[in-house]
Structure formats: structure tokens, C-alpha cells
């Protein structure tokens, strides 16, 4: 999801093809990997029939397994090559796959990798192609489910007992028959569950008199004002188009401080009549605009990319940065011992905590040849002790899984221990939210990012931003 790695993925890529002077040919050239438009209807019909057959097949095989005694789906003993698509620059899945092969030597991997945004573009064609992947990093998945491209994981969830895990883990990967997310059948699994909040430079925080994390939004405001008064940059942020509007992070935290998380999640999960343009969200957006107008963000925010923002923060520019625990390892590296983390505070002291938290989503193609083995891998990642340790040490995030399994601890002094502890507090308050950038496939690129950039440029106000994003949302969903 965007929350996990889109910013990282939103780096520069040569799109040589698209340079072609007749852009028309490009579109057709790429699209002709599918079929021509008129025949597609028939194609889709065939696919549905095939999918139906597959389901029957799966049902039949699972009946067999049940009668054969409690043999769970597994990788068997014959040689298996898992066909997988991972995200470039994100080593956790690679490390997990290596460890898996160590433990199950009959399983080897054919891993292809690409930048996340490229994967997003290619996923529908990869899933519908001749060699459907057993395991693939997924973007927002509703349209993929509606095109019958993803395997329904309900039977695996029942077999492995995933449905006994804390329900919040799986809910973001559920899609209902009407295309709303949050409930319904399971179509993907998280390899881990990330958490976002506020990282701070301990040295600079001490300089502005911060002795403990702020307990209210007002306290946080006071810290920002003090930083500004001392000539420090209060908050580092990225907001360039290539990385997407990083101001969406503080914005959503403010939304969850001013109002409940329920309506925000409803909007992300595309519930009927959901709107982002609410009274409390308007207050939150106005608050953000106040921060922008006070000069709390860098003046060149619209030109700062994700990697630059983090490099500058690590280099000592900015007291705070809104980001997620996937950056723990890099912060620990350059800022070792000098970086802290807190969950964004509520409006009133003692109010409930909330944070964006999203699974690192992977799915199985509807026609994947080794679906059982891939599902077994999902289960292994969440339950195997070594896998969970790798997950925390490398990924920096909560590995999820059954509630009674202890979360491994990270190295002493690592900010990961702070984020893991904070994640527990957020879970207690049931404050997990998906990311507002994930509501639809392109709400981030077409709605939030340009709108937030206009706000930085003084060309959009809070009310206008919410109206514009809501209009884009309704247009994309055809409402």
C-alpha cells in the first residue's frame, strides 16, 4: 500500500517507451497485451467460467484433504518453484523467502522485482497473463477482485485458523461482493503491519524543551511554535509529485484527532455515501493549513521527494517528521540513539489514540499453480519464530499473527522497540486506520497530492481541498 512504500517507490524511472512521439501507439501497444476491446467481454465471461471451475476444484481438493485427516495446505515434498513478484528496494520479502527455503528445501523461488508504482501498473496484466504469480505485492485491490484476478483466501483462513487472529489484521484485506473493503471475503494477507506516527530528533527536541512526548495537539502546537522561534525547522515533509503528497500523513492524524476514526475508515473502504468532507475533517484541514501558513514545513516542500526528506531529517533538518516504522532501520542507522517516536496525540489529554496502520499486502493470483504453498508461506511468516524475528529486525513492523504469540524485541536502543510499544497502545484504543491515500487506485495521485501542493502554494484552502478530493473520489467510483 501507499502507506508502506509508495513514497519509496515513487522514485525516478525511465519510461523510455512513453517517449515515443506518437503517444497513441504506446497506449495501444501496451494495452494490446490484453485483447481487443470488443472481444474482451467474451474473454471475461470465459475467465469467470474458469474461475468457477477453479473454485469447484479447490472445494473438491479441500474436501479430499479433510477426509484424508487434518492435513493442511502445504508445499508438499516435491520440488516447488514459487513464482513471486516483490518490490524493489524492500528487502524483507527477500530475506523471508531465503529463510523459508532454508526450512523447506524443496521450495525455491523465481523472484521478479520492480518498483512499486510499476508493479501497480502491471499487476492486472501479470495476474491475467499466462504465468500467473503465486505471490505478488499488491496495490489497492478492489478492482482486481472485481475482475476475478485474485484468489479468494477464505478457505485457507479457515484451514489455518487466520480467522481466529485479531480481526483488525485481516479486515483491510477483505472485499465484499459490492466492492466495499473492510468486510467480506479475504483476498490478500499482510506480511507485517506497519504503524505511522511522529519521529523526532532527540537532540533538537531537548533543545526546544520537550522532555516527554506531547499529550495533546495543543502541546504539539506549542512545541512547533518554539522550534520556529528558535530558528529550527519544526517539521520535515515530502510533497513532490513523484513521491506523492506527504502532507497527507499529518492531515490524517489531525483528522483522527478532531473526529472518530470510523468515518475515515468508511471512506477508505468505499462504504456507500461515505464522504471525506465532514465538519471535523474541515477543522483538521484548517489546522494543517495553519501549520503551512506558519512556515512549520520547509518552503520548498513541493519540490522535496520522499528520500530527500528523510535524508535531510537524518542530517538534522527538522525536529519532527511524520512517517512510518518501515523507516526504522534507516533512522536507526544514521541517527542511532538520536531518534524517538510517538503516536500523534489526541485533542484532549487522555483521548483515544489513532494511527495509520496498514498490512504489507501480498496476494495470490486466481489461477496460481502453487496457491497452497503460497498460503502456507503466509501462515509461516506470521507464526514461525525465526520469520517473526526477521520481520521485526528487518521490516521494523509488527509481524501480526495470533494474539497469544509474543512480539519479538528489536535490538536495544532501536526505535523499533518504541514503535512496537506504541502499536500496542493504538491497538488497545482500536485506533488503527488505513491510509486516506489508499481509498482508490489513484485518489493519491489525482486528488490528495495536487490538492496539498496547491495548499502549500497558497492556491487552495481547507474547504476547497476536501471538496476537490471528494469530487475526484466520486468520479473514480462512478457515484
Amino acid at each position: 500500500m501507499f502507506i508502506n512504500s509508495e513514497p519509496r517507490a515513487g522514485r525516478l524511472r525511465p519510461h523510455w517507451l512513453v517517449l515515443a512521439l506518437a503517444a497513441a501507439m504506446l497506449i495501444a501497444g501496451c494495452a494490446s497485451a490484453g485483447e481487443e476491446a470488443t472481444t474482451t467481454t467474451t474473454e471475461a465471461a470465459t475467465t469467470t467460467t474458469e474461475a468457477a471451475t477453479t473454485t469447484t476444484g479447490a472445494a473438491a481438493s479441500s474436501t479430499t484433504t479433510t477426509t484424508e485427516a487434518v492435513a493442511l495446505p502445504s508445499c508438499g515434498t516435491d520440488d516447488v518453484v514459487l513464482n513471486a513478484y516483490f518490490e524493489t528496494g524492500f528487502i524483507l520479502p527477500f530475506d523471508l523467502s531465503d529463510e523459508f527455503t532454508k526450512q523447506y528445501p524443496n521450495v525455491t523461488w523465481d523472484v521478479k522485482q520492480d518498483q512499486f508504482t510499476n508493479l501497480m501498473n502491471a499487476t492486472p496484466r501479470l495476474l491475467s497473463g499466462d504465468n500467473p504469480p503465486d505471490l505478488i505485492r499488491l496495490p489497492t485491490m478492489v478492482s482486481l477482485v472485481q475482475d476475478n484476478l485474485l484468489k479468494n483466501l477464505d478457505e485457507y483462513a479457515a484451514a489455518f485458523g487466520w480467522d481466529q487472529w485479531p480481526p483488525a489484521q485481516l479486515s483491510q484485506n477483505r472485499v465484499a461482493a459490492d466492492g466495499t473493503r473492510g468486510a467480506g471475503s479475504l483476498y490478500a494477507m499482510g506480511l507485517n503491519y506497519s504503524l505511522t506516527g511522529v519521529f523526532y530528533n532527540k537532540e533538537l527536541a531537548a533543545q526546544i524543551g520537550m522532555t516527554e512526548p506531547p499529550k495533546t495537539v495543543a502541546e504539539f502546537d506549542a512545541l512547533l511554535a518554539e522550534a520556529k522561534a528558535q530558528g529550527l525547522l519544526p517539521m520535515m515533509v515530502w510533497n513532490a509529485t513523484a513521491s506523492g503528497g506527504g502532507l497527507a500523513f499529518p492531515l490524517q492524524q489531525l483528522m483522527a484527532a478532531y473526529g472518530p476514526t470510523g468515518p475515515i475508515n468508511d471512506w477508505i473502504f468505499q462504504q456507500p455515501d461515505a464522504t471525506i468532507d465532514t465538519a471535523t475533517n474541515l477543522q483538521a484541514t484548517e489546522h494543517l493549513q495553519g501549520w503551512v501558513d506558519s512556515g512549520y514545513f520547509p518552503e520548498d516542500a513541493n519540490a522535496i521527494q520522499y528520500t530527500d526528506a528523510n535524508a535531510r531529517f537524518r542530517g538534522g533538518e527538522g525536529v519532527f517528521i511524520f512517517n512510518g516504522d518501515w523507516e526504522n532501520a534507516t533512522y536507526d542507522g544514521e541517527m542511532s540513539g538520536n531518534v524517538g517516536f510517538f503516536v500523534f496525540p489526541p485533542l484532549e489529554e487522555g483521548g483515544s489514540l489513532a494511527a495509520m496502520s496498514a498490512p504489507l499486502t501480498f496476494g495470490i493470483a486466481a489461477d496460481a499453480p502453487n496457491a497452497d504453498c503460497a498460503a502456507f508461506f503466509f501462515n509461516w511468516v506470521a507464526t514461525n519464530e525465526t520469520a517473526r524475528e526477521i520481520n521485526v529486525a528487518i521490516g521494523g513492523s509488527n509481524p501480526g499473527g495470533p494474539a497469544d504469540l509474543a512480539i519479538p524485541t528489536a535490538a536495544e536502543g532501536s526505535v523499533t522497540n518504541e514503535t512496537l510499544a506504541a502499536g500496542g497502545e493504538v491497538a488497545q484504543d482500536n485506533g488503527q486506520m488505513d491510509f486516506i491515500a489508499n481509498a482508490t487506485g489513484s485518489i493519491f495521485a489525482a486528488g490528495w497530492t495536487p490538492g496539498l501542493q496547491e495548499m502549500v502554494g497558497g492556491r487552495q484552502d481547507a474547504a476547497g481541498l476536501l471538496q476537490a478530493v471528494q469530487a475526484e473520489y466520486e468520479d473514480e467510483l462512478g457515484r
Binding site: 525511465p14 474482451t40 520548498d300
Partner: protein
């Protein structure tokens, strides 16, 4: 091989050669077509068929995988009514100024100065330096310019050094300067191409004409207007054509340096087509915009072609 053998061979092959010649005489056109067919097949598969498919897609609402619905001309009406889509077309016309008009004008001046002042080693060195940006991949150029134009970048440092701190800004992140900044990168890339092409044209002009002009007392500008420009009209046409296409179909420089932002300040059709087709998965709308772009390119290019070839030179 070169000895007396060939005679014998020629004699032996004569009957067959005669037969071949006869067949060739019967259908010279057919043989010509045979030579062209492989290229034509490739052209049809990789250019004509995709073009036809794009036209077809543009009448459908299609996400690239699922069923497609016929929607008639509604994709086209959206291209001309949606301010975001229409805005990209306006932006591409603004880029025409930077990618086409300015490089060709500057190229003309530079080439004529090099041509008139120096033709020796200095001339070819100057040409090589000006041409250099052409051989740098555009993506690399976009990244480098992104650094140069950033707030802590070299351009702003230079402004600061000469006391112009007030003009420093994040050039690519500012709504007012983003498009002209992208345009500047275009000028830097295309100036060398225009200069070299125009200078090659100038080299072909009969030097007698210049001598005559100089005897009549013509200065540099009069010479340029009366001798040079008419003499290289065809080259100017090529320059305008190539740069105009680069402006209207711009993608890589814009994508790498600004991605179309901030807001929609540098959004151009090439980027919007990419976003619609691959992020929004609206293949029909993307195809319609692509077709409109092709027509726009033709509308701009055809008059240039007529102008430069109008009277046979």
C-alpha cells in the same frame, strides 16, 4: 576466385539469368514489393495496428482487463470539457514556446555566428559543446536539472552569490516557475540539435551569395535575413517539426523533473495519458486523449511542412 573461372560460370548461368531477367521485366513492381514487405509487416504490426486499436479503445469504457462498454464519443467530450485534461493541452502549447520557438531562434543566431565568425577548430569545439546535451539521456538530464533547480541547488547558490537572494526558490516546486523551468531544460536539450542542423544547412549555401551581400554592404543581420534564412528554409522546417513534436508529446523531461506537479502546473498530455491508462486504468479515456494529441501534432506540423517545402527550393 578472380581468375578465369568466372567466365565459365557466367556462361553456365546465362540461361537462368535470362529467365530471371524475363521474369523481372514482367513484374518489376512485384519484386520491389517483396523487398519492402518485411518492413511493411513490421510497420503494420507495431504502428498501424496499435494506432487502429487506440482509435477503437477510445470509444469504449475499459479498465484494460474486464469487460469493455461502448460509450460512443463521451471519452472525447470529456477530453474537451474536463479542465484537468484540457489544461494539459494548454500546457503543451506553452511548452511549444520553450521547446520549439526559442531553441530554433537561438539556434539560428548561434549557428550564424559560428558560421560567420569561425569555422576552424574553435567552431567545431563550440558546436560539440552545444550539441552535448543531445547525447545525454533525457532522464539523466531531468534528474540533474532537478538537483540544480532545487532550493539548495547550484542555480540558487549562484543567485545568492550575486546578491539576488530574493529570487531564490524551489524552481520546480513553485506554481509560477515550474513550467518555465521545465521549458528551460527543454531549451538546453534542443538548442544543440537546432544549432548543428542549421549550421549544416548554412554550410551548403553558395559562398558567392555571401560575397555579393557583403559587397553590397550587408551587415550580419541583413545577411541572415536575405541569404541565410531563405537558404536553410528546409532545415528550419525540420527543426521546427522535431522540436514541436518534442513539445507536444513531452513526457520524460516532465515526468522526471516534476511529474506534472505542483498541482497540475506542468501536467502535459503525455503524462496524463500515462496516468489515465496505467494508474486510473481508464484505457478508453487515455486512448481518446492520445488520439487528440496525435491530431494536435498533425495540426501543428502540417503547416510547418507546407511552409518549408511550399516553393521548391
Amino acid at each position: 576466385m578472380m581468375g578465369s573461372e568466372p567466365h565459365a560460370q557466367v556462361a553456365r548461368w546465362r540461361p537462368m539469368r535470362r529467365a530471371l531477367r524475363a521474369r523481372r521485366a514482367r513484374s518489376p513492381i512485384l519484386v520491389g514489393w517483396l523487398f519492402v514487405v518485411p518492413a511493411l509487416v513490421m510497420y503494420a504490426i507495431f504502428v498501424l495496428q496499435p494506432l487502429a486499436l487506440t482509435v477503437q479503445y477510445s470509444f469504449y469504457d475499459w479498465d484494460g482487463v474486464g469487460p469493455a462498454t461502448w460509450v460512443g464519443l463521451s471519452n472525447y467530450s470529456r477530453v474537451f470539457t474536463d479542465p484537468d485534461l484540457l489544461g494539459t493541452i494548454f500546457n503543451s502549447f506553452k511548452l511549444l514556446l520553450f521547446f520549439s520557438v526559442i531553441p530554433v531562434t537561438l539556434g539560428l543566431i548561434t549557428a550564424s555566428v559560428i558560421h560567420r565568425v569561425t569555422t576552424g577548430r574553435f567552431g567545431s569545439t563550440a558546436r560539440a559543446i552545444i550539441f552535448l546535451p543531445q547525447i545525454i539521456p533525457l532522464v539523466a538530464a531531468g534528474i540533474i536539472w532537478g538537483w540544480l533547480l532545487s532550493l539548495p541547488g547550484l542555480i540558487n547558490q549562484l543567485f545568492k552569490a550575486v546578491g539576488l537572494e530574493s529570487v531564490t526558490r524551489a524552481w520546480l516546486g513553485d506554481f509560477d516557475t515550474a513550467l518555465p523551468s521545465v521549458g528551460m531544460i527543454g531549451i538546453w536539450v534542443l538548442l544543440g540539435f537546432c544549432t548543428v542542423l542549421l549550421q549544416t544547412g548554412m554550410a551548403k549555401i553558395n559562398t558567392d551569395l555571401y560575397e555579393a551581400a557583403r559587397l553590397d554592404g550587408a551587415g550580419w543581420f541583413a545577411e541572415l535575413r536575405a541569404v541565410t534564412i531563405p537558404g536553410i528554409r528546409y532545415e528550419i522546417g525540420v527543426c521546427l517539426t522535431v522540436t514541436a513534436i518534442a513539445a507536444l508529446a513531452a513526457f520524460d523531461i516532465v515526468y522526471v523533473s516534476t511529474g506534472g506537479g505542483p498541482g497540475h502546473a506542468t501536467a502535459v498530455p503525455g503524462i496524463q495519458i500515462y496516468i489515465e491508462a496505467f494508474l486510473q486504468r481508464r484505457v478508453g479515456l487515455a486512448s481518446a486523449l492520445a488520439i487528440v494529441l496525435v491530431l494536435l501534432v498533425l495540426i501543428v506540423i502540417l503547416p510547418i511542412q507546407r511552409l518549408s517545402r511550399g516553393s521548391d527550393r
